[in-house]
Symmetry: C2
Subunit: 317 residues, 2 copies
């Protein structure tokens, strides 16, 4: 088996780069000290995120292709949550020296598929490859605001409606199923995980290969969204962030406890003026009021109110 | 002792962010899904690099402040090597759960000092903090070309002169000294390293707190540099990269073997038209000829020629 340690960084990169998606915005690509990317409106959006083997994923559950996909998807979602169109990513990977080239190629294929299916035109413009005992993925993603103002967390106003794009709760359900049934003697196990995935394909795919509604970010911005974020920590926590940053109260209705708490949903949660045309892909799940904090179906959450997390185990690792 | 694991990511970030340098180009800073950065000429330069405990640094030798400094410096140098002015960085850090907040604050201080001293106006616009058994630093840095074309590796022409800014060989000498004398029973040792640093402050500082000539990148571009790169792998390897990418031969003169081989020098190596005014900070070390490959003082390097690496130990870890 050809490994990273045996082949060396340069030779491995030569095998990997042709598999990576090319970015439409790329002016100078991989191979020099740095890449050069177009920023047509004179600004660019930037987000960075690390995924660590152990806390963030388990190789018994995620294929390398899953990892590439998820690394792309989660960062593209943060770009979309600003109302931007993702343009490019740089990807740094550190892997054990005995990692096979097949693994690294499949990881690159996952990046390519994730970009192609979720955000066509976005691509990988550079990267870095290192050796580490702990498999570590660091992605930085960029986006283009197309002349619009970024949609921050802080712009929600009383009277706005709350919209949600994407399906909350599923990814946490997938993680719960994997922790409950994807183990053998308490340790993540590939065969057990394959059985779970066959029986519950939708929640497991939501966990391992999330499909954030990337283009809905731009749609929301064009519809006049006043605030938006990516619900990576679950709808309840992220809705509270909009409430806090905007100095308002969010009243959410009609979600189950599982949908409300969630985790790694990568939905887009946005607020819109009451007279806005809510874009396709969003459903209205509540409204913005004066005050602070959050409620679900009229019951205040947190503070002296309901603690929705009591007894909750979304399977978070 | 307050640790990363005990305090949690959000609380730690609240302690760290006020210490980080603010970027002049920052339009939206940390705290939302993504940052927004100005790209005045409609393009931006991007480079990314990971530093891993073990292969890339040892905590017995580098203080957290050194690490922050070096993480900034090495990425700023890649931006400068495109002829750009560094504008912003995003920094992802993964550290063991028992890492002290003092350590993380000192790391942030190193980032701040590195930016302030090497490239005033550049700052940290976002980041990510994770838990990992292996201390891992991933920096992505950005720069502004100010309307100029990027200076690639591929533009050197026969007749050009070769210029060098920065001091080659010192960082490798520092690493060699640390490997030779900064150990106890063969293991990196802080007390032994402190003695080495006291006896040989210049090479050890070049290794642990490099000072790449960042502003010389812009100066070279404005003087018409035809090719440029950051000599992170040592002058010989990086000069051969310019030769290969440009389809020319580089004839280098007047360097010692130690200066020629180096490693982690973070010098800027550039080629200029023969009639160019070589900017302050650069010294002429050779010329560009038709052909391929590299020579030092008339002796061909590599291929069937001299193998300067025979018996070489730059202390590379």
């Amino acid at each position: 088996m050809t490994t990273l340690g045996a082949l060396g960084e340069s030779a491995v990169l030569a095998r990997i780069f042709p598999r990576l998606p090319q970015a439409d915005a790329q002016l100078v690509g991989p191979g020099d000290d740095a890449a050069v990317i177009a920023a047509p409106d004179g600004r660019y959006v930037v987000t960075t995120d690390m995924m660590i083997h152990g806390p963030d994923f388990r190789l018994a559950w995620s294929s390398p292709r899953d990892l590439g996909w998820k690394a792309a998807a989660s960062n593209l979602a943060d770009v979309a949550a600003m109302g931007a169109v993702p343009s490019a990513l740089v990807v740094a990977l550190a892997a054990p020296a005995d990692t096979s080239i097949d693994f690294l190629e499949a990881f690159a294929d996952g990046l390519r598929d994730g970009c192609a299916e979720l955000s066509p035109g976005a691509g990988v413009v550079g990267g870095d490859l290192s050796v580490s005992d702990v498999l570590t993925i660091a992605v930085t993603a960029f986006g283009d605001l197309e002349g619009r103002q970024p949609v921050l967390r802080s712009g929600a106003h009383p009277g706005d409606v709350v919209g949600l794009a994407g399906v909350p709760g599923l990814a946490a359900e997938g993680l719960r199923l994997l922790f409950e049934h994807g183990v053998s003697d308490g340790v993540p196990d590939a065969s057990a995980a394959a059985r779970v995935a066959a029986e519950h394909p939708v929640p497991v795919a939501a966990q391992l290969r999330p499909r954030p509604p990337i283009s809905s970010g731009r749609d929301a911005a064009m519809a006049g969204a006043t605030a938006m974020l990516d619900t990576s920590d679950g709808l309840a926590i992220d809705a509270a962030r909009i409430a806090s940053a905007s100095g308002v109260r969010l009243d959410v209705r009609g979600l189950s406890r599982e949908e409300f708490l969630g985790g790694e949903d990568h939905c887009l949660l946005a607020t819109f003026p009451s007279d806005a045309q809510i874009p396709e892909g969003f459903r209205v799940i509540g409204s913005v009021a004066e005050g602070s904090g959050l409620s679900l179906d009229g019951v205040t959450v947190g503070g002296d109110g309901w603690d929705p997390y009591r007894g909750w185990n979304g399977g978070a690792g």
